[in-house]
Amino acid sequence: MPRYIFFRILSIIPVLLGLTLIVFIIMSLIPGDPATAILGSYATPENVARLNQQLGLDKPLFQRYFIWLSNLIQGDFGRSMSLNRPVIDEILERFSATLILSGTAFVLCSFIGILAGVISATRQYGLADKLITLTVLIGISIPSFFLGMMMILYFAVRLRWFPASGMYALYGGGDFIDLLNHLIMPAVALAIVAAGVIARLSRAAMLEVLRLDFIRTARAKGVPEKRVIIRHALRYSMVSILPILGLQAGFVLSGAVYIEIVFQWPGVGRMMVDAILARDIMLVQGGVLFVAACYVIFNIIVDVVQLWLDPRIRS
């Protein structure tokens, strides 16, 4: 098993390389000449050529890739034009905000989703099941940005329970309670959609498992029903729920982009949208790389947990 984990971790490397390659290719497809973009349209041809040489843009594509890659490895993600500061500084600052938001949302949605799915499956066609099914349906059909906006209207403007936007209060904030206060609404808005998907698939997985032979064996052994549900059925369902959690992590990271905008959360998603609108390519590229790498690593963790859950793939 340690051997497998080792290889699995080793296999991050080609994936990350592939990732950088794709990002590089996509970015080099961008029409227009970066040098012109930087210097503005009044630049003289000599200046453009000089800058091109400085940026290494006169070299062949694959050579440029390696130069770019080795810069990346040394932590040099280039410079943001619109913010006029190194990309890596900006991202690191923003990334923690995104991580707090999506991490919380992810934990929330996994927990709520699986719980709802299990309850729904064990009470199939009962009242709880119907309520959960309906909630799930609303959850997966409502755009998260619309949901967020409505939450602001109701909980922030009307009831004044939570602040409407930002991560910390402008004056006097900054402690954990303040953060939590700001975090709850966006995290919930972000979690609801993903929780719906997880609940629905967990319910299906549980129902599928509950009619397998070994469940009948467990009952024939006299195992109490609660234990049958949790230790036998849910345990087995986790094997198919876990990959869904992995996928949902991607959805949470994606949804964070909208939620960050709606709640003015200072994260990477908002930064990237601004960067795209400002045509700040370096910043977009950095953001994409960072979040994708984070997602890849998360999925490796999921794989390892899967391995621990399922002895059949260990051998």
């Binding site: 051997r3 497998y4 290889f7 296999s11």
Partner: protein, 318 residues
């Protein structure tokens, strides 16, 4: 003496197993090892062995579903590699173990059945109609069955359809892979009876696979006993119960349930790891006759008595 209709020489079929990791060694499972057999025209040739011993693989290689890794299969003295596939399909056909699984679930029985008539024999729709009507009668099914979908018919009916599909290709040789194992005894007996009648009617040759000794004994002329991908013994079916020479065949016969049987005690029953073939005879750990040569040299199949071939260093005296 007539030339055999099927000649199999040193046939081998391997499967490569998915590697655990990219860097791991590539593993090869030898499903069929060096099998040589002759089947005579008009014969019912049985193949018996426990699950996983390579019966189906051998059968599927003979009809061309799998490609052999080495060795040859000759039908009427032509190697199947040289026969174009449609001609091969017209010569030899396969009846599947899972009768329902071999029918396309989205098509009616009729649509399932007319494919070979259309593609292999090139018949027009009038001829197809006539052929199908004849065949439904031959396999003892009412005509309306043709307009049903596979999920609407029973296992016994589905197996009749499977046999009909194989016969419609016009082939003289049928390879039947456990055709009655999934069926209840009363239906099993019906199918066996049907097969005998069809054999006479169309002068067919059968290769009949089963794990049920009693069925093989009652239905076949000659039998090959397979163990661990190899042929252990080839003998007339009548000798199966009490005159077999190979210790493994003895064991099968002894443990086969009978109405008047006592309960048997047999302890070593695990097969060798299919990925790590042992040196010498694969049956040695379970064998009651095992001797010093067994653990080092694999026994070759040889003619020992009249009509009895055996791969064993110390065959049982009969």
């Amino acid at each position: 003496m007539p030339k055999p209709i099927i000649q199999i020489k040193n046939l081998c079929k391997n499967f490569s197993i998915k590697q655990a990791s990219l860097l791991g060694p590539k593993q090869v499972l030898k499903a069929v090892k060096n099998v040589s057999l002759d089947v005579k025209k008009g014969e019912i040739f049985g193949i018996i062995g426990e699950s996983g011993c390579g019966k189906s693989t051998l059968a599927r290689t003979i009809v061309g579903i799998y490609k052999a890794d080495s060795g040859t299969v000759k039908l009427n003295e032509n190697s199947i590699e040289n026969i174009i596939s449609k001609e091969l399909n017209r010569t030899i056909q396969y009846v599947f173990q899972d009768p329902l699984g071999s029918l396309n679930p989205r098509k009616t029985i009729r649509q399932n059945l007319q494919t070979p008539l259309h593609l292999l024999l090139g018949l027009n729709s009038h001829q197809i109609n006539q052929k199908l009507t004849e065949m439904m009668e031959a396999v003892g099914l009412p005509l309306r069955t043709m307009y049903q979908y596979p999920h609407e018919i029973s296992g016994g009916q589905a197996q009749r359809i499977g046999i009909a599909r194989a016969l419609l290709a016009g082939s003289q040789i049928l390879v039947l892979d456990e055709p009655v194992s999934a069926l209840d005894v009363s239906v099993q007996a019906q199918i066996l009876e049907l097969l005998i009648n069809l054999k006479d009617k169309f002068s067919l040759t059968y290769i009949f696979i089963s794990h049920d000794l009693a069925v093989i004994e009652a239905f076949c002329n000659r039998v090959a006993v397979m163990y661990y991908g190899e042929i252990a013994e080839v003998l007339p079916a009548t000798k199966l119960y009490s005159q077999s020479l190979h210790p493994y065949t003895n064991l099968l016969a002894r443990t086969a349930p009978r109405l008047d049987n006592e309960i048997h005690t047999e302890f070593q029953i695990e097969l060798p790891d299919p990925l790590k073939p042992p040196l010498g005879c694969a049956f040695a750990p379970r064998c009651s006759n095992v001797g010093e040569r067994c653990k080092e040299f694999s026994p070759e199949l040889r003619l020992l008595k009249e009509n009895s071939y055996v791969a064993c260093h110390y065959p049982t005296k009969q």
